[in-house]
Amino acid sequence: MQAALFSPCTYEGPTSTSGWPVPTTVYSSAASQQTFQAALAHARLADELGFDWVTVAEHHFTPFCITPNPMVLAGALTQVVKRAKIALLGANIPILNPVRVAEEFAMLDVLSGGRLVAGMLRGTPNEYVTYNINPAESRGRFEEALQLIRKAWTEPEPFGWQGRYFQFKTISIWPRPVQQPHPPIYMSGSSPESGEFAARHRVGLGFAVTSLGLASKAARHYRECAAAVGWTPRPQDVIYRIPCYVADSDAQAMEDLAAAAAAAVPRSISLSLSQGAESAIAGAGYYGRDESQRGRVAAPFQNSTRERIEQGQLLLGAPRSVIAQIRHIHEQVGAGVLDIVPALSGEKAMASIERFGTRVLPAIREVGT
């Protein structure tokens, strides 16, 4: 198994806690700077410890993740992370200009010497409000954008694109990606439709904010669809993202987590819209055929710590316990890349990353091989 460290760039300063979008009437620019410095420090440490990837994400109008353009953070990471791959999970391509995404990804692949992993996601439902895009067209825009980006990377002669959602008279991007024919592509794969599309287009699949039940079902569907079109996904074609805190003992881990929860400045981790807006997005067919997808974003935070560990929503404990939890996830989902999210902040996060790198990572190397 390979390990990735996710830098969510959760803003650590004072903020209001109301829904989404989150106002900035209470805001600290020093805290934002501190957040980015911590993210760069975490990524540098992960790289030194032998993590295989560092990952970043895209969210808007929220302190939960202050990287509305993850390309910018990834650009900084290319100068800090010397060896590990740099994964963008994602770009939310349906709400962006796909040609610009192809150009920025290509730049990052050049700046990193061919270490870019190109995640292309639909994003959370609220992102469709962000850039005023109809969520009913999310899947259509996603599928078209992905094919356009791939074409922009691989076509050396100028070409035009007469799409359904995107129209360009001529495209000829500079620079070209280092990795040929193009950087590895991943998409999020919780819904049956996503698994089918990923299989048909031979791209990797990532799971985040999920549960073992949902992810194992979706991963099985993806593999079945891939087999039907004549290929077999490799273990590293499936990513599983999960919050993680490694302590010296299980008891210490529980204690630190509880203390952090009690002491934490209340901060909005919600990407939830108002009831009316949420119903409109669901009514637009955003969640696809599998309605169980709806509400899964909120669910993990309502479960107890024990339930979260059992359902593959949290890695917590001494290195030995965390190794066992990871083996269980691998058995259920078959994921070859584990993308861990620091569950605590500050010094505790650094110490946990260090323990993971020195005491967990060597032990999970042979898992799934």
């Binding site: 094919q147 100028p158 035009g160 007469q162």
Partner: protein, 169 residues
């Protein structure tokens, strides 16, 4: 704001008056029929555009070569360069504005189709019609018609968006 077709500075650009469109084979122009007068042959025309599909490409090139300047623009649909390289070379020398269209779902068109055309006809415009198979005009009629009409209205200005982007006046 000025009219959508007027550039902001310089000489006003006037879209060409519509020319007769000769479709080879005839059914290629079907979805355009409501908006452009389509003829099946060039007989009696002084100036015209040619729309050709697949194997009719060769005939379109021959027509351009034999009509002494009457062909103003050429649209080629789901076509690979004809094997007669001398014909293609002579057609290229005419420097007639040419648009080559492929469907992204057309299994018979290889990924390098655009490269093949651009090597032989360096000035041609390649456009991929997303989510269309072999029968582009039938698969995405509105997208096909919009593109072809845009090209034929002013081939030299094809790359420039001449529509207003204002959402609300």
């Amino acid at each position: 704001m000025s009219a959508p077709h007027a550039p902001s500075s310089g000489k006003p650009s006037v879209p060409r008056p519509p020319a007769p469109l000769v479709a080879l084979p005839e059914e290629a122009g079907q979805p355009l029929a409501a908006r452009i007068a389509v003829k099946g042959s060039a007989e009696g025309l002084e100036s015209f555009d040619v729309l050709a599909r697949g194997p009719a490409t060769e005939k379109a090139m021959q027509m351009a070569l034999s009509s002494s300047g009457a062909v103003r623009a050429v649209v080629l649909i789901a076509a690979m360069p004809p094997p007669d390289s001398a014909l293609v070379e002579r057609f290229a020398a005419l420097k007639i504005p040419t648009l080559v269209l492929f469907g992204t779902r057309d299994a018979e068109i290889p990924a390098e189709a655009g490269r093949r055309w651009r090597a032989l006809l360096p000035g041609c415009q390649i456009v991929w019609l997303y989510d269309a198979g072999r029968d582009l005009p039938a698969d995405r009629p509105a997208a096909f018609a919009e593109l072809v009409l845009d090209f034929l209205s002013e081939p030299a200005a094809f790359l420039v968006n001449r529509r207003s982007g204002a959402l609300i006046p």
